[in-house]
């Protein structure tokens, strides 16, 4: 069978929800934080982890925040109390350097206490800079790039063989698309008609040494995926309503879906937004305070120089 439950009914058209990133209403925020409020919390925690002696992948975590929040809070069928429930939807973070964002969102979702994020980079602890599958909610080890989509093909293939309404979502970095294994998997997914498989590309256009288009160009990216037999949806990757729509609209005629999510590396930190040097950072105390202030105010601080270097 190829039928696969999408998380939610499709919305008729690309919706405009201008308040989606705005503050939640006073009433709802008393009950449960809005996605925008959660995004601030998640970003604050990423900054805190990057302020440890180990440092962390700052930029690619910041660009992922809305993508992972929408998936974990609005799209995927998952239960933090039962992280290995066979009926769950599966999210594979192929861009393993997004681990800090994943940890933070999993904590926000309740897979483990937020307080445990203080263990990040502590010697002997479970919170490494790349995803540790020992942690609840982390589905696979990743970090070496180009592994997630092949594994996703297997998870989606099992769903089809089992007749399980499982949804499999693989989150990829754009630089990662330079790995050949991604395209091996892309070919097989469409060849097998795995419409239960969705890829989300965090298209922030930056890799360690610069713009993806200057290193090994990916464009025209939509045409490339389409040529590989996928349905392509393009969205603003910081716009929850657009993400929600792209991730829940019904798949078409046995094709897997790729969501090309335009994002900004280092989003929320004006002094490193869109800069390759945000890839990995170890924030000093002053930089940490400035970054936290930027994220909280959504405003650009007067001065902020983030120590940044290669991973």
């Amino acid at each position: 069978m190829t039928g696969l439950a999408t998380g939610r009914p499709a919305e008729p058209d690309a919706p405009a929800e201008p308040d989606a990133m705005g503050p939640g209403s006073a009433e709802s925020s008393l009950v449960e934080p809005s996605l925008a409020e959660r995004a601030i919390s998640v970003r604050e925690r990423i900054i805190e982890m990057c302020a440890t002696t180990g440092g962390g992948h700052l930029g690619g975590g910041m660009s992922l925040v809305e993508i992972l929040l929408v998936l974990y809070f609005e799209v995927l069928r998952n239960d933090p109390a039962r992280p290995t429930d066979p009926a769950r939807d599966v999210l594979l973070l192929s861009k393993g350097h997004g681990a800090l964002c994943l940890y933070s969102v999993l904590a926000e979702r309740g897979y483990f206490p937020v307080s445990r994020l203080a263990e990040y980079a502590q010697p002997g602890g479970q919170f490494m800079a790349h995803p540790n599958p020992e942690l609840p909610g982390v589905e696979m080890p990743s970090g070496a790039l180009g592994h997630g989509l092949p594994v996703g093909v297997g998870v989606a293939l099992d769903a089809r063989l089992s007749g399980t309404p499982r949804r499999t979502v693989v989150v990829l970095g754009d630089g990662e698309l330079q790995e050949g294994s991604v395209w091996e998997a892309a070919m097989s997914a469409s060849s097998l008609g795995l419409s239960g498989l969705t890829a989300v590309v965090d298209r922030n256009r930056l890799q360690i040494t610069g713009d993806t288009e200057d290193v090994v160009g990916l464009e025209p990216l939509d045409e490339r995926w389409r040529a590989f037999g996928w349905t392509v949806r393009q969205v603003d990757g910081h716009h929850p309503a657009q993400l929600r729509h792209a991730l829940t609209a019904a798949p078409e005629d046995g094709r897997p879906v790729v969501v090309l999510a335009r994002t900004v590396k280092g989003r929320g930190l004006p002094h490193v937004e869109g800069m390759a040097k945000s890839h990995f950072a170890r924030l000093g105390d002053r930089q940490r305070r400035q970054a936290l202030a930027s994220v909280r105010r959504g405003a650009q601080p007067a001065t902020a120089r983030l120590g940044a270097g290669p991973a």
């Binding site: 080890p141 092949p150 594994v151 996703g152 297997g154 294994s181 998997a185």
Partner: protein
């Protein structure tokens, strides 16, 4: 080496898998355009035969995804592609994640013969035994493939099953049953211990033991069909010098494993294997083995050196 060729371990494995799949819906056969399954009838399990084409990284990753969901995928490719081309997928997706994928690696050793060094696999045992959680199996005759296949089904982690390409001789002895992780004793002897894995090496070791016996040297022969986990107890049950025999480069494989295990005991270990070069010439498996220096004479010579100290 004069022996009757009987069955290929590759074809034996194929028949086992095709027969086992309908009754066990955990099993999935992932092919990579090998041609091994052309014309096979999987019956009610037909949907669980999936040909992923010529893309080994995706093959291993897909297997990992299936295994995460409770399946037991059998991955089919050539030994050298599984162990070198797709190595990172094996390391991370299977070994690190400790998933029950079975890698059916055909064309082990020099069994690809004329196809040349691109298809020879003289590094795979070294690579696979380095990986935590991996079980490494090398049947020495087609019938052993049956035992190892059945026993590996319920192992919790990944398994590397090294198979030949063509028919190989049956061993000229009544071998006791095989248990994964336990060396199979094929011959007794107090003077020397010959440790071998794979069809021709085990056969050559038995032949060398016969020749040595004629010269008054009694050599025991162990079929080390499980290279990992290595049966160290069987190695230390005797204090005799050791000669290892394998269809693999001398570095890294069975000989290295034995030398590592015994190195701190002061035991003498000599290794017979393929010299440190590519076997770049035409010829069948037996011819290439001789050219590469894996011969009865080489074993005898190593035995005499091992006994002289």
């Amino acid at each position: 080496m004069t022996s009757t060729l009987t069955l290929s371990s590759r074809e034996t494995y194929r028949d086992l898998l095709v027969q086992a799949m309908p009754a066990d819906d955990r099993l999935v056969c992932l092919d990579s355009d090998t041609g091994l399954f052309l014309g096979q009838d999987f019956g009610t399990a037909a949907a669980r035969y999936v040909n992923l084409g010529i893309a080994e990284q995706n093959l291993l990753g897909t297997a990992a995804g299936l295994a995460r969901c409770g399946r037991i995928p059998f991955v089919n490719t050539m030994a050298t592609f599984a162990s070198t081309r797709a190595l990172e997928s094996v390391k991370i997706d299977l070994a690190y994640a400790n998933l029950p994928v079975r890698i059916a690696a055909t064309h082990g050793g020099l069994s690809a013969g004329n196809l040349g060094p691109t298809h020879h696999s003289l590094e795979d045992l070294a690579i696979m035994r380095l990986l935590p959680n991996m079980t490494v199996l090398v049947p020495a005759q087609a019938s052993a493939t049956v035992e190892l296949f059945e026993q590996c089904l319920d192992l919790p982690g990944p398994v590397y099953l090294r198979l030949g390409r063509s028919a190989t001789p049956d061993l000229p002895v009544d071998a006791p049953p095989i248990r994964i992780g336990q060396a199979q004793p094929l011959r007794d002897g107090d003077d020397l211990l010959l440790v071998a894995c794979g069809p021709y090496p085990v056969l050559l070791a038995l032949q060398a033991a016969e020749s040595l016996a004629a010269a008054g040297i009694e050599a025991a022969v162990l079929n080390m069909h499980t290279v990992k986990p290595l049966d160290e107890a069987a190695l230390t049950a005797t204090g005799a010098p050791v000669v290892t025999v394998e269809e693999h480069w001398r570095s890294g494989g069975l000989g290295s494993a034995v030398a590592e295990a015994l190195g701190e005991t002061g035991r003498r270990v000599l290794r017979v294997g393929v010299a440190d070069r590519f076997v770049s010439m035409a010829g069948d498996q037996q011819f290439l083995l001789e050219q590469a220096g894996v011969t009865v004479e080489a074993i005898q010579s190593a035995a005499l050196r091992a006994l002289k100290r």
